[in-house]
């Protein structure tokens, strides 16, 4: 028989609460007797008589005494630990009365709601690292939507997170979906068995929407931030995400998407994927096909990655690129493609596809092998512009939130007789503009007879707040061809532009 006790100095609990706790402790396996009492003289005498408190131990009236008698030390210790945990559990606050009250800090929020487990941080970059640190200090996972955070801060935050076993998504993490929770810019997706690890916001959105609209679903999409696979960070969050998916029973297949990683980091990540028991699709947008272990397949495009994850099911199979292209009689002087993208990764995918189809491409957000846009006069190359790039968003909202960022460039493209096709994207979902299609159609309504062809794709799902089909219908009514995916929009643009050039 073993007796263990613990004395909490100056700890008061009312007797009803104590009796309830005593009963719970006494009912634990292997416990013979248990008492949780304030250490008043009479209570101390009771406990001494029951052999729960030895003569030498002094207690005071406002000490809480926890004492257990058990068959084994392990049982006694376990019961005592449970009781202490129950005592230390913060008191719940009433739900009704807290409706109007808002905490002013992460600390206060966590104090009032101890079951919070994730912080979504979107404060200005100067303050974001400090807030993330507070969240990590309190054991919270972090999704940091904020950008303009130094790479040194990113590294130290991710190291701290790894140390504590916490997931540090971001900085500059545009999207994640954890257990159906849309974090930052995310779409309303079908739940399913495909997991996504994304160093790219719109890339993750495109793949997850294509999968969801194709009838399968997403288990979780973990964002890692655009720089996670750089040499400085070394893929800390990506590697943890792989661990997480390895042990997630809901996930059968994982898609990893990123801009081309640093070669050393790529090596580490690919080696880690090789040790996973789950099949992977790896999509390094703009990278050469990379050698992968047997459980992984490579895709150069987002659409290709979605199709691999879907087990080979083709996306938008009914979409006839050649047929659509033939509706546009070529006009010899029109040869160029102008791509105006809200989604950075969609712009990267466009570069991959147009370059692969033999077109000469420049971009302000150039992928490896594509020249950087440099303002060359009479440039006959296709221009693919990422309007979410810093030069367009400094001091204004991202084009996904405020599509008017694209207006000027679009108007000018519509009146440019060199251009055969204007290539566009619309990104729907939580966080995005409520009706980007209407905004777009108002701009293009006034275009002239010989204006370029308009080809678009819509990233989104039927369940999104904007409803994908409704947005598509509006675009089509305005004479814009809507492809089932960004990749097919690019293929169509290339086909139209090529036929014009002939």
């Amino acid at each position: 028989m073993v007796v263990l006790h613990e004395i909490r100095k100056g700890f008061y609990l009312d007797s009803v609460a104590l009796m309830r706790l005593s009963r719970e402790v006494a009912a634990a396996p292997g416990i013979v007797e248990a008492a949780l009492m304030m250490g008043t003289p009479s209570n101390a005498a009771i406990m001494r008589n029951a052999g729960l408190l030895d003569e030498g131990t002094e207690v005071r009236g406002n000490d809480l005494v926890l004492a257990v008698k058990a068959e084994t030390e392990a049982a006694a210790r376990a019961a005592l630990d449970d009781a202490i945990r129950a005592l230390d559990k913060p008191k719940a606050q009433g739900d009704g009365s807290t409706a109007a009250w808002r905490p002013h800090s992460i600390a206060a929020a966590v104090k009032a709601h101890p079951d919070i487990n994730l912080a979504l941080i979107s404060v200005p970059g100067d303050f974001a690292a400090a807030e993330a640190r507070k969240a990590l200090n309190r054991g919270l996972h972090v999704l940091m939507f904020s950008d303009n955070v130094s790479i040194a801060d990113e590294l130290s935050l991710k190291q701290q997170a790894r140390e504590a076993g916490l997931l540090m998504m971001g900085p500059d993490c545009g999207t994640a979906v954890i257990g159906g929770a849309p974090l930052a810019f995310a779409n309303k997706l079908q739940r399913g068995r495909i997991g996504i690890i994304g160093a790219s916001g719109t890339g993750t959105q495109e793949i997850s929407c294509l999968i969801s609209e194709a009838g399968q679903g997403i288990s979780h999409a973990i964002g890692v931030g655009g720089r996670d696979l750089k040499k400085e960070i070394g893929g800390i969050t990506t590697l943890m995400a792989i661990d997480a998916f390895d042990s997630d029973p809901e996930t059968d297949h994982v898609v990893l998407i990123s801009k081309p990683p640093h070669p050393d980091v790529a090596k580490t990540v690919i080696e880690r994927i090789g040790r996973s028991k789950k099949p992977y699709t790896v999509c390094f947008i703009g990278a050469e096909e990379t050698k992968l272990p047997p459980n992984a397949r490579f895709s150069a495009t987002l659409k290709g990655a979605a199709e691999l994850a879907l087990g080979g099911q083709a996306i938008g199979a009914g979409f006839d690129v050649a047929g659509q292209a033939s509706r546009f009689p070529g006009r010899k002087w029109q040869s160029r493609i102008e791509g105006l993208f809200a989604g950075g990764t969609l712009c990267a995918e466009a570069q991959v596809i147009l370059a692969a189809s033999g077109r000469k491409v420049v971009s302000n957000a150039a992928i490896p092998g594509v020249p950087k846009l440099d303002g060359t006069k009479d440039d006959q190359r296709d221009r693919l512009i990422d309007l979410g790039d810093d030069e367009y968003t400094r001091g204004r909202p991202h084009p996904m939130i405020d599509p008017s960022v694209r207006d000027d460039a679009l108007r000018s493209a519509l009146g440019n007789s060199d251009i055969a096709v204007v290539l566009l994207d619309l990104v729907l979902g939580y966080g995005a503009h409520a009706d980007p299609a209407t905004h777009l159609t108002e701009i293009v309504a006034s275009r002239g007879k010989n204006a370029p062809a308009l080809v678009a794709s819509v990233v989104g799902t039927e369940s999104d707040p904007q409803t994908r089909s409704a947005q598509v219908r509006k675009l089509e009514q305005a004479g814009i061809i809507v492809a089932p995916s960004n990749a097919q929009a690019c293929e169509l643009a290339a086909a139209i532009a090529n036929s014009a050039a002939r």
Binding site: K9, G10, F11, Y12, L13, R60, G61, N62, K91, A92, Q93, G94, S97, T98, A100, W101, P103, H104, S105, A107, A108, K111, A112
Partner: protein
């Protein structure tokens, strides 16, 4: 920092473990060996006559006449102005006092003993409402009442308290919180409980029924009677938490009508001061904020232990009375103060917050980080001496005090 967290836990434990008992009422000269004739203890951090506000000067003049150091108020003011009396904060003598907080040799003081740590703290007897010295009142009626407190009430109640073997205070506070008191602007429940506890003993030892009736009546007519006991209790509970190196927990907040002063555990007796702010609140008929004096008193010691503005949720009626908002929003004050404190007091709970404890242990770091200043419930004095209370409201502790304290702690710990 680990050092700070551990020091704060220690400071907090010392506050929470306190076992305050009201044990006696004794003239100040017998309690304070350092307190001499022609010395006046006042509320707040140190201050000189030339910087004192109107009510403080009025109270000083009254106290001088009361002690017989000058024949009249005019001569008293001249004596004070010419350096004829010494001024010290109550806090430097183990005492506290509400509003102007006058303490002089002959005044009877409540003695609260913290039996857990063996320390004592003192506070004068509450004079009641209306024209009183704590609001700068100094006319004949004020001095007459003080004399009665000194000669009749103090000795009578003191004897009863001794006879009763002292009175345990924490449980009175716990009950008061459940009956709508926050122990700063509302002490109705605690005053009543106190009267209930002490009156049988007072009756038993009474030798003169008329005196007994006067004394019982004095307590019964003063809803704020218990405030001064709660203040001495606050001081008795926070003093043991002083001087724990690295601790960022506040051990005293007080004001003298000119400056607001803060002490923080890790830096012992050092004051961090800044100009005191004007209270915001409601005024009695005929008065407005034009008449108001800046905030005064050592009474913010009750906020330092989680009562007053910190326990607003327990006293929704007070929120309305002092113009702090709708009674239904009283809980927001307490929740907000929960953001600048490190713990809840498990012995002092608030039913309306599902028995959450009052927020305890103000951390200067959290005050500066959140920019949320401690909220203090306070009476408002007229800016001219001799007029008295004109309203009640809330006042915020100036953030500058807390910023200084943070810098001083950082430099003490060698953190640049």
């Amino acid at each position: 920092m680990k050092l700070i967290e551990e020091a704060n836990q220690q400071a907090l434990a010392r506050i929470l473990e306190g076992e305050p008992r009201l044990v006696d009422i004794v003239p100040a000269r017998e309690l304070m060996p350092g307190l001499k004739e022609r010395m006046i203890l006042h509320a707040g951090p140190p201050i000189t006559w030339d910087r004192m506000c109107g009510p403080m000067r009025g109270a000083v003049a009254g106290a001088i006449v009361f002690e017989g150091w000058a024949p009249d108020l005019k001569a008293a003011a001249e004596l004070a102005a010419s350096g004829g009396v010494e001024f010290h904060p109550n806090h430097h003598f183990g005492a506290v006092g509400p509003m102007t907080g006058m303490t002089t040799v002959s005044m009877p003081l409540f003695v609260v003993e913290n039996t857990r740590f063996g320390n004592r703290a003192y506070c004068a007897i509450n004079e009641g409402l209306g024209k009183v010295m704590r609001f700068g009142g100094n006319d004949e009626s004020v001095l007459k009442r003080l004399a009665w407190l000194r000669d009749v009430f103090g000795p009578t109640l003191g004897k009863a308290i001794r006879e009763a073997g002292g009175i345990e205070l924490k449980s009175i506070i716990a009950r008061g919180l459940s009956m709508g008191d926050e122990m700063h602007q509302r002490n109705l429940a605690c005053s009543s409980i106190f009267l209930r506890e002490i009156s049988p003993t007072m009756a038993r030892i009474a030798t003169d029924n008329a005196v007994l009736a006067d004394c019982l009546g004095f307590i019964a007519q003063n809803d704020q009677f218990f405030l001064n006991i709660a203040m001495a209790m606050g001081k008795a509970m926070t003093d043991p938490a002083k001087g724990i190196r690295g601790s960022t927990i506040v051990t005293a907040m007080c004001r003298n009508g000119t400056d607001f002063g803060v002490r923080v555990s890790g830096l012992g007796d050092q004051w961090f001061t800044a100009p005191v702010e004007m209270p915001e609140g409601l005024y009695f008929a005929g008065y407005s904020e034009k008449d108001a004096n800046p905030d005064m008193g050592d009474s913010a010691i009750v906020e330092t232990i989680g009562l007053g503005g910190f326990a607003m949720a327990a006293a929704p009626a007070v929120a309305g009375f002092i113009g702090a908002g709708a009674p239904s929003a009283a809980g927001d004050f307490t929740r907000a103060m929960g953001e600048i404190t490190v713990a809840q007091n498990p012995e002092w709970t608030i039913a309306a917050l599902d028995f959450a404890g009052v927020p305890t242990g103000i951390d200067v770091r959290l005050v500066v980080d959140t920019g949320m200043a401690p909220v203090i419930n306070t009476g408002i004095a007229h800016r001219e001496p001799g007029i008295g209370q004109v309203g009640a409201g809330i006042v915020k502790a100036p953030l500058a005090c807390f910023q200084q304290a943070v810098r001083a702690i950082a430099s003490d710990l060698g953190v640049a």
